[in-house]
Structures are given as C-alpha cells and as structure tokens.
C-alpha cells in the first residue's frame, strides 16, 4: 500500500501496563495499516487490546515501543504539546457512554472542539446547531443530554466528533448502549456522513450486528491481530 494513502500505520506496536509481577502486555507487536477513507473495525473479546490500540492511535496513550504513524506523523516523535495540538486538529472521538457534558446543551456539546480550537463560543454554538440541523436534530439543539434518547445522544456525539472536520475519527463501542435498530441507524449515519476520501473511521466493537458497515475488520485477541478481512461474514 502506498505510504501517502495510509491514514494509520502501526508496526510492531507494544504497550505494557504496570511492571513486575503485575505487568500486563496489552499490545504484543501490532502491525496494522488503515487506508484513508476507510471504515476499519477492531473486533475481539474484552481485554484483547482493542481500546488500548485506538488510544495509542488517537495519541491519548503512549506506546512503549514500535511505530505508530497517523497521517504521516510518527506519534512517539511528537512531544506532549504537539500531541495535544495534533489531537485538537486531526482526531474526533465517539465514546461508548457518549460523554456529553450534562450541563451544556446539545449544540454547545457539539461546539466543544471548535471552542478548544479557539473559536468564540457563540459562533461555535451556532455552527453546532447548524450541524445538528443537518443531522436531523435541529429541534433538539437547545436540549440538554438528559432530555435526549440514547440514539439522539449518540448522534450529538457524532456531530461533536465531526464538527472540526478531523481526518481520523475513533469510536469506542458506539452502538453497545443502543438497541439494534438505533445502532443500525447510527452506523448508517456514520458511514454516510463521517467517511469520505479524506476521513477515516476506526471503530472498536464487539457488536457483530454492525460488522456489515465495515470496509475491513481486524480481529484481535490477547494483544495480537489475528487477521484482517473485508468479509464481515467470517465473523458471524
């Protein structure tokens, strides 16, 4: 694969938690390439290292050894401030538990990445409301998260991950807190809005109901990637 087509390239990536007898090797030499514009899913049982892997890729966790390049930037070569700036510009996050700020409205929640980027909160909130409008949540822009359903909250979270137009979006179990039908709708939304030629999605999941939305699926177990396939039926 051409280097400039790659969104993510991990080579012999190792991550160890703790030390001595309590040492846990979470990633045992991961090799992974994710193309730009691809929706890649990381699947596997709990504790296999999926979340650790996207944490390293999202530069919120440091690897112990190996390489991890995101859009050409070797993460271990970036200092702390450079990583913060890199994340603010290039990474969008979607969390399992949504992690919406309960004291902010939906539009204000969506606006957070823009505010972090230095935009005035009034302007940013208006942009957030506009994006929610595009996503069919215009009437809920001023609602607080507690007034929204699970599906609506996750759509707000997706809007928040998209609003600053990042090149990589990492999603951790985005459908596990949703029923099957809502989960499907969320994945359809992500596939239609979030993925394009310049943007890549990496989704951690063990929800087999959404495997069909993946361009490729990496099966992980015990800190290794066992195989990468584009045929989701292999996992059913």
């Amino acid at each position: 694969m051409e280097e400039n087509q790659l969104a993510v390239k991990c080579k012999n990536l190792i991550k160890i938690y703790g030390e001595g007898t309590g040492k846990i090797v979470a990633l045992r030499g991961i090799d992974l390439e994710v193309k730009s514009g691809e929706l890649m899913m990381l699947a596997g049982p709990s504790g296999c290292g999926k979340t650790t892997l996207i944490s390293v890729i999202a530069s919120i966790l440091d690897q112990d050894s190996g390489e991890c390049k995101v859009y050409g930037h070797e993460l271990k070569d970036l200092n702390k401030d450079e990583k913060i700036a890199f994340r603010a510009k290039n990474i969008g996050f979607v969390f399992q538990a949504f992690n919406l700020f309960p004291t902010l409205t939906a539009a204000e929640n969506v606006a957070i990445p823009l505010i972090i980027g230095g935009m005035d909160h009034t302007v940013a909130t208006q942009k957030g409301a506009d994006l929610l409008e595009q996503m069919g949540l215009g009437d809920r822009a001023t609602s607080f998260p507690t007034d929204l359903s699970g599906g609506q909250q996750q759509r707000v979270a997706i809007a928040r991950a998209l609003i600053h137009n990042p090149r990589l979006i990492v999603c951790d179990e985005p459908t596990s807190a949703l029923d099957g039908e809502t989960g499907h709708k969320i994945m359809e939304l992500m596939k239609s809005i979030a993925v394009d030629k310049t943007r890549t999605l990496i989704v951690v999941t063990h929800d087999s109901r959404i495997f069909q939305f993946a361009d490729r699926i990496a099966k992980m177990e015990d800190g290794h990637i066992l195989k990468v396939t584009s045929n989701y039926k292999e996992f059913e």
């Binding site: 944490s55 919120i60 966790l61 913060i84 994340r87 603010a88 996050f93 700020f101 505010i115």
Partner: protein, 386 residues
Amino acid sequence: MFYIAFRMLVGDRGKFLGIILGLSFASLIMTQQPGLFVGIMTRAYSFITDLGQPDIWVMDPTVQYIDDIKPMPDTYLYRVASVEGVKWAVPLYKGTIQVRLHSGTFQTCNLIGLDDTTLVGAPAVMLEGRIADLRRAYGIIVNLEGVLDKLANPPTYPGGPKIPLRVGQEIELNNNRGIVVGIALTTRTFQSQPVIFTTYSNATLFTPPQMNLLSFVLVKAKPGQNLDVLCKRIKRLTGLVAYTKQQFKDLTVNYYLKYTAIPINYGVSVLLGFLVGAAIAGQTFYNFTLENLRYFGVLKAMGTSDRTLLYMIIFQALIVSFIGYGIGVGCTGIFVFLTRNTVVAFRFPWQLFVFSTVGITLISSFAALLSIRKVIKLEPAVVFRS
C-alpha cells in the same frame, strides 16, 4: 473555554450552592468575628480616642491600661508642666463612683474629672446643654447610654419603659448631689458603664476622701516637638511614664490581649470558621472536580492543554470565591446594620478586609490545588473506560 468552565460549575446547582455556602460561611466568620474583636478592643481604649486634644498621657509608672488607675499627688501636674517642650498640662481624674438611682438601687459609673479652667477632655458632641455648664455648682454631664438606660428613671408602671434622665434632674453620687447640666454622645466603654463628666474640683467632692486623686496628666506638646523625645524627657525628669495616644492605646490593647481570654476565644472562632469553611468548600469543590473528572478527560482527549484546564479550574475557584466572599461580607454587613444601635461592638478596618480576602483566597486555592493536581495527573485515555 471559560464559558465551558462556567457552565460546568453552575450547571450542577446543588454542588455549586454547597461550595458557595462553605465559602460564605467561612468569609462570614472571618469578617464578623474579628470585626467584633476589633470593636471590643477599640472600646477598651475609646476614652483615649474620645480625648482628642492632648498629645501625651502622663501617669504612674505602674499603670498597665486605661482603667488601671494609680492616683498621683496633684503636685505632679506642675512637674510635668515645667518640662521643656510642654505647651500645656492639665489634670484628669478618672475613676468609678456609685450612683444611687431613683429606684433606690446603685449603679457603678465612670467619673471623669476635667480641668476646671480649660475643661480639656470634655465630650466632643453635646446633645443637650453646654460644656461650660459643668462649672455650675454640682454640674455633671451624662453620656447618652447612661441617660437612656442605666441611669434612667424607673418606669411609671410595672413593666413599662424606663424614663430617660433629663437635664436639670438631680442624682446622688456617693451621697453627694449632682445636677445634670448636659447630655453628651461618647463612644461606648468596654464595660458599657455610664460616663459622668464633671470638673476636677467637683470630682474631689464626689469621690470618697483619699490622699491622691490625679489619675493622668494630659499634655499638649509645643509645635514641632518630637512626641517620642518629649515622652522620654518627661519620664526622665518626673519619674512618671508618658505615652503618646497611640502608645497608650497599644498598651491598653496589649494588656487585654495578654491577660484576658478575649483574643483566644475570638481566635478560636475565626480558626474554626476558617477550617470548617475550608473543609466544606475544599471538599465540595474537590468532589465537584472528581465528578467532572470524566469530562475533564474528554476535554484533554479532544486537545485541551493542561494549562487551559488549570486556568479553567482557577477560574471556577475564583467565581465561587468571589460569590462566597461577597455573600459572607454581605451577611456581615447585614449583621452590622441590624446591630448598629445596640451594645454590639463592631469595627471593620482595612486590615481585616485584607485578612479575610487572604483567608478566602487560601481556602479557594487549597480547594483548587486539590482539584488541579487530580486533573493534571489524569490520563486522557480514561475517556475510553466505561
């Protein structure tokens, strides 16, 4: 980001009010209790404050504070007056006297005997009568508190209000006749006893016979005199001690600080207020941060720097400090307003303002520091933990 910090803070009203309550309580205690303490200490030397004219007070060397009277022979007045640099020197009698009330009971009062000629030391504010009337036979001036309360006439019917003492009325001072010729406004004394002013010669009549009556010699320095130098000169030449007004006030306050439990009692109150306020505010603010740790983690993951998070927490701490301090000082203000015409002593000098501001700042900083440490050490990867 300050907008987000503000919304995070005020969004949870219960927690927000808890922090505000803690800081308000602390600032109330830290302003009201020391205010009372300063007020009481001010009353301890109110008599020195009220006597505006003299620069120097001369007295027996064993005097420890304003009410510790050690009478001196009258001839000492002339010794002091003859010291170089003294413009004038007048005698002052200060003591207590038993006044027999119209109800038949007795009331202890402060009796002030002023120089017959100059009446130096007379009250500055007369509500009724004239100071010069003190020179009339048996003339006395009574302060307002005495007139309205402790020296007032008995009620006309049981349980009725006391009838204030009037100008022209007679009272019995130690089996001697005294005629009220004026009513004056004075600062309340430490013991809140009525104050009766008369001339020095009348004072010698009213008080029981004793060898010496001169309590203090009040001195006015010649223009350009260094008061400290003059005090030392008086001490050297007369064998008495001489203090400037401020030195005598300090001597009096130091006596109360050293020999009474007043400062300890108030100090304990202030300390407890500080500690309880710090505990409530610190704990609530820390809990607030802990409960929002996940959201601070989200901000961190999304690209907010530690420095920005630090500013956010400081901003939150400043908001609660500002509001809490405002409410606390406001409550103290209400307390002062409600007690303005009562026996309650209260003073709020600028030093107290600085003290309470520093106290609240310390509490807020403590609360913020606890939280900052937690947030700065937070790994952004926490956001992926369910």
